[in-house]
Symmetry: C2
Subunit: 329 residues, 2 copies
């Protein structure tokens, strides 16, 4: 027997524990070509909130009664597929579940000798590729430019700022609380970080961006986006990655979109899983930076599958500090 968590009901507004249900399931017998994986870590990500809703989106909504979607890393415990052997470490999309069966499609073997397994769900996984794509394919920072990223201490934001710095740009983060801001500046090496909870986001960002803003990597939307937009220089680029501020269904207007025109801004919404062709390049580049210690990351790990709903609700409220994971073993 193993445990999994299914979507019990769709949230109307904020996510609640009652939207999830923990179930027990039988470990299935493998068919020819299949592998059985014992998941060690589950990744929790803001996009999951979108899937819980049945509003029109880029992805089909998560079905009720089915295992919640999610990225996992784990160990092959049984294999009837010649491409995988017992003991292999694999990244997959087994969802909020202790175990998973796959025919090998979308399953990726990873080397955990140089890079810890959990990092393949963060900086060397989807969040890292999200940062890498937005920086390299949309913002394209030049030396001396200023790049702003919201949710700067999160898995995506931390990577965005470090990649911007490596490109010679000035990196300015927005994060919630002094502890996170201190981490962003002192540990990750950003040039500045504005605490949006301190009550003076607009003034704080103005002070932190004396030469204006040339690139925005937007993870949050709402007031963060408005504040950054107000600081844009001519020909600024915006990688629109997330609008977490509106995931609970409320309107999140842009206060002054006219700046998009007057500053001749380029804005591009994107979903990194639509650019899988670029992942090998991105994973190689970021993986090398992680292995050599040039790219830092931080994790928030909750213990046991049953803790996932609470950890996820915390993530949506910004309570996590770094990449949110659930340790399953």
């Amino acid at each position: 027997m193993y445990q999994r968590i299914v979507l019990a009901s769709r949230p109307s507004g904020a996510v609640e524990a009652s939207n999830f249900r923990l179930e027990k399931a039988e470990v299935p017998a493998l068919a020819e070509g299949q592998v059985l994986v014992r998941n060690h870590y589950l990744s929790l990500d803001p996009y999951m909130r979108g899937r819980m809703s049945d509003a029109k989106s880029y992805a089909a909504p998560q079905a009720l009664g089915e295992t919640m979607i999610g990225g996992t890393v784990g160990e092959v415990v049984e294999s009837k597929n010649p491409k995988f052997a017992k003991g292999d470490w694999v990244v997959g999309m087994f969802g909020w579940s202790e175990m998973g069966v796959s025919d090998g499609t979308l399953l990726r073997k990873v080397d955990t000798t140089i890079i810890p397994a959990s990092a393949y769900l963060g900086v060397v996984g989807m969040p890292g590729m999200t940062a890498w794509y937005g920086i390299n394919k949309i913002i394209e920072p030049k030396a001396g430019e200023t790049i702003v990223v919201s949710a700067a201490s999160g898995a995506v934001g931390a990577t965005v700022g470090q990649l911007a710095k490596l490109a010679g740009a000035r990196a300015v983060g927005i994060a919630g609380g002094k502890e996170k801001c201190d981490y962003v500046v002192n540990e990750l090496g950003f040039d500045a970080c504005v605490d949006y909870r301190a009550g003076s986001l607009d003034a704080g960002l103005k002070a932190a961006t004396p030469d204006g803003v040339d690139g925005i990597f937007e993870n949050v939307g709402g007031a963060c986006f408005d504040a950054a937009l107000a600081r844009t220089n001519a020909f600024a680029r915006i990688a629109l990655c997330g609008m977490a501020a509106g995931y609970s269904g409320e309107d999140i207007p842009i206060r002054n979109p006219r700046l998009l025109l007057t500053n001749r801004v380029k804005l591009q919404g994107f979903i990194v899983t639509e650019h899988l062709d670029l992942w090998p390049q991105g994973l190689a580049e970021v993986g090398k930076l992680v292995a050599s210690g040039k790219m830092k990351y931080r994790e928030s790990v909750s213990q046991g599958l049953a803790s996932a709903p609470e950890a996820f609700m915390g993530l949506l409220q910004g309570k996590n500090f770094g990449k949110q994971l659930v340790k399953l073993i």
Copy 2:
């Protein structure tokens, strides 16, 4: 003596007649290399509203007491420049003025035997190039796609829709009033036009775009933009050309920018005068369409320089019907 109109004061809110002042000036003696032009037509355009304000913008504000900025077409009446002869027709930026002196820089000779002089201020001028750039360099319509343009009966919008049709796309306009909408469909050949004054913009646009929207050429902002954004398909492109709805200083929020993310939209603000390198190509293409009768256009002509302020205020309120010109002779 000749007449000109200068900016007397900056508007606080809506433009008023008192913001302008009609002055008389002496015709200057020409220096070597200069030409004197008698302007026949002045172009009135929404961008002038932006210049009247001293808010941060892509262009320096119009100076108080100076001739209002504006494009003109006229005839050379005296020349001390070997490149221009008396009787040449030229397009220039002489502003709200009956005459102008130039050293030839930015003065462009035009052929008025095939294309009427006034058209060089509209469809074969800046508005036409604005449409051509947005369609060809940002939206890039494919056959079968749906393109929406606001202010569809205006100089830019009319050209946008006709270029979209020529590319095999479905063209849907938004305009104010039944007369304009009838013109857009019956004369310009758009597939549909929604009357935003009829009170059901969202429902009307939904009915007019059964397959959603793949491209938006935005001239207006505000409710028009929101309605079009709500209909976007995945990978829609937005050419952000104007935000006339906010020219008087009011906030014009985008109600639901999350669609920019969920539909992976590309949005590009642009100013066509920053792409002068492409004008020869665009002018040749659009000029050929006009000369052969494949591109239609309409003009609203007010008589005499003194009528310019009222005509301009009417333009900002959508009272014009087609390209707004002032006949100066």
